[in-house]
Each structure stands twice: as structure tokens, then as C-alpha cells.
């Protein structure tokens, strides 16, 4: 056996065993990759090289956006911004069957449009809306399922921390282009859920009781404008070249902080707690990025991606079955693994294959992110599934049945994103961010 195969084998076996034993994913990846490096380099050089990869993994200005978007999300969650976004969502959705559930979906998309993560959206919006839904006679399981199913839109609709991670691991892929590419798939995901909710609500007899006068609607909307403005400032600023994505994320922090001080929902003494919470979330994500950098180096050095690519290409020379195989693999991986490490592991392997078939790296980014987003709402391990159940105080087993039809809708959207390039590329193309 050659050294590449030995290194690859050590890495795969090491990761599988340590993951199964419940070790931290970061340690699983880091320790196994370093062990694999020992197959190709002497001890001291392996250690120095591994340490260097850890350093390089964190030493990136683009990744700096992640703590800022997390911090902004935490501030909004604590501040009065979440409440105002729900007000606006309700105006948009109150005439549809299952009004409150529809409001939940729109609110998840709106909150997602200013925070980088789907978990934050599901936690903030579900927490406020579900008590109201219960009063209207919705079952807990239904409210929770709707909140969970629409939670991942926050990871597709920009800004998105996962896209930032993808852009650094994929190389020269513009974050602005990826952000813009996320709008249509993210909104489609949300709309799919809304259509389904309309049918389900009718069947269940969840009718609307609320009516707005024009004056009330206008007042709620005006009250929400400063919060909605955050979307315009951050995304507009990034697109307009006023600032980079990282700078935009810092502006989002400052803006949401100022707004929360004005609304008097955050006090200065709350800040250390909010900052520390954000650092913890950041560190968990970023440490995985750091150690995955060891893994990707070993893979590059031993040319493992080329090895896998050629064996996958020997299965079929047609792109459609290859894409389907990739989707299935990613969906399975997503059921038990968090999206961040999965993006870090599978991008270097799958992206070159897709690019050799002429797929644009931006579309591939959307495809891989979306596949892994599905995993966040599936058992056994799903961050948004867990959060949504905890917030609604229901058991995972009891939500799954109500969640099933939503999976169906999401999978259809996923297939569309996989096979229709323009769903992801149309907006970036219009804005001149992508040349095809």
C-alpha cells in the first residue's frame, strides 16, 4: 500500500471510532489527521505542521465575520428586535390559513436575514410565538414542527455563517456571491413550508381570529422599520462595496446594540454575559475549522481527493447519478453530523468533481449547505430539531410524525437547487458577482 492510502485509512478509521465513542468532533478530526500525518512526515515536523494548520485555520479575516454575526444574533435575541420582526411578519402572513404558524415561518426568514444561524432564529421566534399558538388551539407538536422545519432558512438566507466557512474552504469563492445565491433557495424553502402549512391548517381547522386595521398595520410596520433596516444596511453595504462581509458583521453588532439600548431591552451589565455566550459558540465552530485544516492538508499532500474522485468517476461518467450519489451521502452524513465539520470534510472531496463537470462553485456551495441544513432538522442529531423541541417542550419522537411532510417539501426544493443552476446563480449573475 502506498503512503496516501495508509494515511487515508488511518484518518477514516480514526475519525469513525472516535466519533462513535462520543469524543468531541474537533478532537476526533484533529487527532486522527495528525496521526495520519505521522505516516508521511517525521514526528517533530508533523507536530509543527499540525500546529501551523491550526493557526492558519483561525488566521483569516473572512472567518472573523462568524463571531460578529453570532454576537449580533444574541443581541437581537435579547433585545426588542425579535419582537418587532414578528410584528412585521404577522402583517405579511395574517390572512393565510394557520396565521400564527405562517407568521412563525416568515419571522424565521426575517430573523435569518439578519443573523447567521438557523438555531438562533428558531429559538427566538419559537420562544415568542409558541405560547400564542397554544392559546389559539394549535397542538404543541404542530407549532414545534413548523418552527423547526422553517428554522434552516436562516442558514440559507444571507448572512450565513455556514457559507462563510464554505467560502474559506473552497478557496476563491466570493462571500458576496454566495450570500446572494442563498436568497432564492432559502425563500423557496420557506414558501414550500408555507404552502404545506396552509393545507395542514385548513385540515386541522386552525382559522384566523386576528384582523388588522390599516392604521394598526402601519403602526406595527413603522415600529419594525429600524429592525428591518438592519437587513438593508448589512446586505446593501456588502453589495455596494461600502464594506466587506466581515466589516458588515461588525456593523450589524453595533447597530443591533444601539437599537437594543434605545429599546431599553439590554443593559450594559448584560454585555459580558452576551459576549461570553457568543465566544463559546464561536469557539466551538472555529476550533473545528482549525483542526479540519490539518485534515485538508493531509488530503492535499497525499492527493486523497483525486483518489476518491477517480473512483467515483469510474462508477459513472454521467453527472446526474454522481450528483444524486453526493446528495444521498450528504443527507446521510447530515443526519448525525453538524453542518460545519461536514462542509469542511466534504467540500475538498466533492467540489473538484463537480467543477470538472462545469458546476459553478457557488451553486455547489448552495447544494452542500442545503443538504446539510436538512440534517439540522433530522434525528438522531439535529441542532434545530433539538432547539425547537426544547423551546416547545415536546419530545422529539412526537414531533417527527408532523415533521415528515415537511421533509418531503424540503427534498423537492433540494432537488431543484441541485439541478437548476439559475436558482442559485441568477441573482449573483444579475449583480455581476458571478461570471459564467
Amino acid at each position: 500500500m502506498n503512503t496516501a492510502a495508509i494515511a487515508g485509512l488511518i484518518m477514516v478509521i480514526g475519525i469513525v471510532i472516535t466519533l462513535a465513542l462520543g469524543m468531541p468532533i474537533a478532537i476526533s478530526i484533529g487527532a486522527s489527521s495528525t496521526l495520519a500525518m505521522l505516516a508521511i512526515l517525521p514526528f517533530h515536523q508533523s507536530m509543527i505542521t499540525s500546529a501551523q494548520r491550526v493557526f492558519t485555520g483561525a488566521n483569516s479575516f473572512a472567518l472573523l465575520a462568524i463571531p460578529f454575526f453570532i454576537l449580533a444574533g444574541n443581541i437581537m435575541n435579547n433585545g426588542g428586535i425579535a419582537k418587532r420582526l414578528i410584528g412585521c411578519a404577522k402583517i405579511l402572513a395574517h390572512r393565510l390559513p394557520g396565521c400564527l404558524a405562517q407568521t412563525n415561518i416568515v419571522a424565521n426568514m426575517l430573523f435569518g436575514a439578519i443573523s447567521g444561524s438557523g438555531v438562533a432564529a428558531a429559538a427566538a421566534m419559537g420562544g415568542i410565538l409558541e405560547p400564542l399558538e397554544e392559546k389559539e388551539g394549535y397542538t404543541k407538536e404542530f407549532s414545534a414542527a413548523v418552527n423547526i422545519a422553517s428554522g434552516p432558512t436562516g442558514m440559507m438566507i444571507p448572512p450565513s455563517n455556514l457559507m462563510i466557512v464554505y467560502s474559506t474552504v473552497a478557496g476563491s469563492v466570493s462571500i458576496a456571491a454566495l450570500f446572494m445565491a442563498g436568497y432564492i433557495p432559502g425563500v423557496l424553502w420557506g414558501i414550500g413550508c408555507m404552502i404545506l402549512v396552509a393545507f395542514m391548517a385548513k385540515k386541522r381547522g386552525y382559522v384566523n381570529t386576528e384582523r388588522y386595521s390599516v392604521k394598526e398595520a402601519l403602526k406595527t410596520f413603522l415600529d419594525g422599520i429600524p429592525s428591518l433596516l438592519l437587513i438593508v444596511i448589512v446586505i446593501g453595504g456588502i453589495l455596494g462595496g461600502v464594506f466587506t462581509a466581515t466589516e458588515g458583521s461588525a456593523i450589524a453588532v453595533v447597530y443591533s446594540l444601539v437599537l437594543s439600548f434605545i429599546y431599553r431591552t439590554i443593559k450594559v451589565k448584560d454585555l459580558p454575559r452576551i459576549l461570553l455566550e457568543s465566544v463559546k459558540t464561536t469557539a466551538i465552530v472555529e476550533f473545528m475549522v482549525c483542526v479540519s485544516s490539518i485534515m485538508s492538508w493531509v488530503m492535499s499532500f497525499t492527493k486523497i481527493p483525486q483518489l476518491i474522485a477517480s473512483s467515483l468517476l469510474s462508477v459513472s461518467h454521467n453527472f446526474v447519478p454522481i450528483l444524486l450519489i453526493m446528495n444521498v451521502i450528504l443527507l446521510i452524513v447530515g443526519t448525525f453530523m453538524d453542518p460545519t465539520p461536514a462542509v469542511l470534510i466534504f467540500t475538498p472531496i466533492f467540489l473538484p468533481i463537480c467543477q470538472s463537470f462545469g458546476m459553478h462553485p457557488v451553486q455547489f456551495g448552495l447544494m452542500i449547505v442545503m443538504n446539510l441544513c436538512v440534517g439540522t432538522i433530522t434525528p438522531p442529531v439535529g441542532a434545530i430539531l433539538f432547539t425547537g423541541c426544547k423551546i416547545a417542550d415536546v419530545k422529539i419522537e412526537s414531533v417527527i410524525k408532523t415533521l415528515l411532510p415537511f421533509f418531503f417539501v424540503v427534498l423537492i426544493t433540494l432537488l431543484m437547487v441541485t439541478f437548476i443552476p439559475d436558482l442559485s446563480l441568477w441573482i449573483p449573475k444579475m449583480l455581476g458577482l458571478v461570471t459564467v
Binding site: 512526515l41 483569516s60 479575516f61 478557496g171 455596494g240 462595496g241 492535499s300 481527493p305 467540500t347
Partner: protein, 335 residues
């Protein structure tokens, strides 16, 4: 051609930056594989003249050492950014790399003299210096950091491009021009009359489009590869900077070579300079045509006023040490 392919990211990524170009191509080494394969890390694509020059050198090395050595160039930052690659060479994790002169400058500031703005009037003067052997003493100084410099390359003079023609320094007044992220570069652009704006390369296109900045400065190859002519079509030949790239090798690897292999390595490295420069010339001409077809306009500039403005910086760099004084004198001789 290099001009129609996507450039590698200049930002330090997580190391697997665009594996794409090598996936279908498989191995990146062309022909002969020696008993010892020297891994050489490179940050740009395999269309780049520097890549081709080192790859060409590999086959010659194989022959000259009777199959004992060959070089395998890893493009697109696959093994890390230039900064990481230099560290990997220092530590012996890989054997060779092509790095920017500024990285060697961080180890020994005397390297600044061969990358100083307006140090050379023409590309040919720079090439003559690189081939002359006058830099051997300078190149040996990095040995204590664990690497030796084998050769210096350059992808061509860098000039300013913006949304209007630049004739004299006053034309640059108030113009925000993107420079590489170092204070020397900001200072250089300010001396030329503009406002130096440090920014990572990935943001430049959209920043010019949005008028956050007015333009940038680069060689024609990169200018065309990044399609910056679409947003800043006026390329004025200020020729202010000819940044050397250095081919480096781990010192222990070089020491372990037999005398004849060592000599062959040195000789072939020096010969690769000529072939690299001629390939870069061809590439530049090709890219210039492509840019012109895309609407770019090229203008000659009287560089004297710009050069005069740079005088304080040149003097400071040239008089930094005995080594720089000696090299500066050599450069004057070549002129």
C-alpha cells in the same frame, strides 16, 4: 491560458483552496519522477509562467542528477498560502516553495532592496541582476532560518489602473488605489500622489465597481486574469514596482545533496530565470490583447516625476546596510 482561468485566492485559506484544477488532471508533475521528489508549493494556477518554469526545471534536474531528483509543483495554495509554505520549507515538511520577496524581507530586511519601487527602470535590468550572481551573498543570509534562495522571478512591472488616464502624480490626488496589505505599499502609493488603500484581492473588483476605491495596481497578467479592466479600463504604465518572487529550498535538503547534484540544482535554477522571464513576456502580451479586446486602454507614462517622488524611499532602502549599498551599486552598474 492563464488569462481565461480563475486565479487562486490571495487570501490565506484553509489550505484546500481550489483543488479543482488538479482533480481531472490528476498528478501535477509532468514527466520524469526522481528517486527523491521535492515537493514545491505554489500559490497560483498551473498556467502561471513561474509554475511552468519550475516544472520545466524538474525534467532537466532529473536528467542532470541521473534520476536522483525531480520536483513536483503543487499549485493553487493546495499546501498552504505563501506564508505557510515558507514555514513548511523552514520546518522541512516540504522541500521547496515559491514565495513573495516580502516574506524573505520579514526574515532579513535587506531583501527590500530588490523589491523597492522604482529601483529598476526596465524589466530587463531586473532580470540581468537576478542572473548576475550579485545576489548570492544576500540569498545565503536566510540559511539560519532554514532555507536557501535558489532563484528570483518576476511576473512583470506593476502599474496603476483606474477609471481615468494617469499622466502625472497630481492626477492621482484623492484617488483611492488598492495596494497589498503592508504599510510600505500604502506609503509608496501616497508618495506617488494617491491614497494607498490596503485591501484583500478578493474584494477589489466589487469595491471598484461600487466606487469605494478608484482602482488598483498590478501587472498586466493579474489585471487581466481578475478582469479588473471591466471596472477600471485605464491602465497607465507607471511601472512602479517589479516584485520579485523567490524559489526557495530547505537548507538541509540542499546540504544533503552531493556536490555535483548541488551544482546542477544551482545551475538549473539560474537557467530557469531566463525561461521564466520569456514565458512571462509572452503571457503579458497575450493578456494585454485580451484586455484590449475587453475594452482596456493602455497609456505610456513619463515616469520621471513619480520616480523623483519615490527618491526618499529608494535612498532609505538602498542605505539600510552594507549589503544593500553593495547591491544598489550593482544595480547602477547594470543600468
Amino acid at each position: 491560458t492563464a488569462c481565461s482561468s480563475a486565479p487562486a485566492s490571495s487570501a490565506a485559506g484553509s489550505g484546500v483552496a481550489s483543488t479543482a484544477s488538479t482533480a481531472s488532471a490528476g498528478s501535477t508533475s509532468s514527466g520524469k519522477v526522481g528517486k527523491t521528489v521535492l515537493k514545491c508549493s505554489f500559490n497560483q494556477s498551473n498556467d502561471n509562467p513561474e509554475f511552468k518554469a519550475v516544472q520545466e526545471m524538474s525534467d532537466k534536474l532529473y536528467d542532470a542528477t541521473e534520476g536522483r531528483y525531480s520536483i513536483e509543483v503543487s499549485p493553487n495554495e493546495l499546501l498552504g498560502s505563501q506564508k505557510d509554505s515558507l514555514e513548511l520549507v523552514e520546518n522541512g515538511a516540504i522541500e521547496m516553495a515559491i514565495i513573495a520577496n516580502s516574506l524573505a524581507e520579514n526574515v532579513n530586511s535587506d531583501f527590500g532592496v530588490i523589491g523597492c519601487p522604482y529601483m529598476f527602470d526596465t524589466q530587463d535590468q531586473q532580470k540581468k541582476l537576478f542572473e548576475s550572481g550579485a545576489l548570492d551573498d544576500l540569498f545565503a543570509t536566510t540559511e539560519k532560518s532554514g532555507f536557501d534562495v535558489l532563484a528570483a522571478y518576476s511576473l512583470g512591472p506593476r502599474s496603476i489602473y483606474t477609471d481615468k488616464q494617469i499622466k502625472i502624480p497630481a492626477d492621482l490626488s484623492g484617488e483611492k488605489i488598492r495596494v497589498m496589505q503592508s504599510d510600505t505599499m500604502v506609503q509608496m502609493l501616497n508618495l506617488m500622489g494617491g491614497v494607498g488603500t490596503a485591501m484583500s484581492q478578493g474584494d477589489v473588483y466589487s469595491a471598484i465597481q461600487a466606487h469605494t476605491i478608484n482602482g488598483g495596481e498590478n501587472n498586466i497578467i493579474t489585471y487581466t486574469e481578475l478582469k479588473h479592466y471591466e471596472v477600471a479600463p485605464y491602465y497607465s504604465f507607471t511601472n512602479h514596482l517589479m516584485i520579485p518572487d523567490l524559489l526557495v529550498i530547505n537548507s538541509d535538503v540542499l546540504k544533503k545533496m552531493s556536490n555535483s547534484d548541488h551544482a546542477a540544482m544551482k545551475k538549473l535554477s539560474n537557467e530557469s530565470i531566463e525561461s521564466m522571464f520569456s514565458m512571462a513576456d509572452e503571457e503579458t502580451a497575450k493578456c494585454k490583447k485580451e484586455a484590449e479586446a475587453g475594452g482596456a486602454k493602455f497609456f505610456d507614462v513619463d515616469i520621471t516625476p513619480f520616480k523623483t517622488a519615490m527618491k526618499p524611499l529608494i535612498d532609505k532602502t538602498a542605505n539600510r546596510s552594507d549589503m544593500t549599498k553593495k547591491i544598489y551599486a550593482e544595480i547602477q552598474k547594470i543600468k
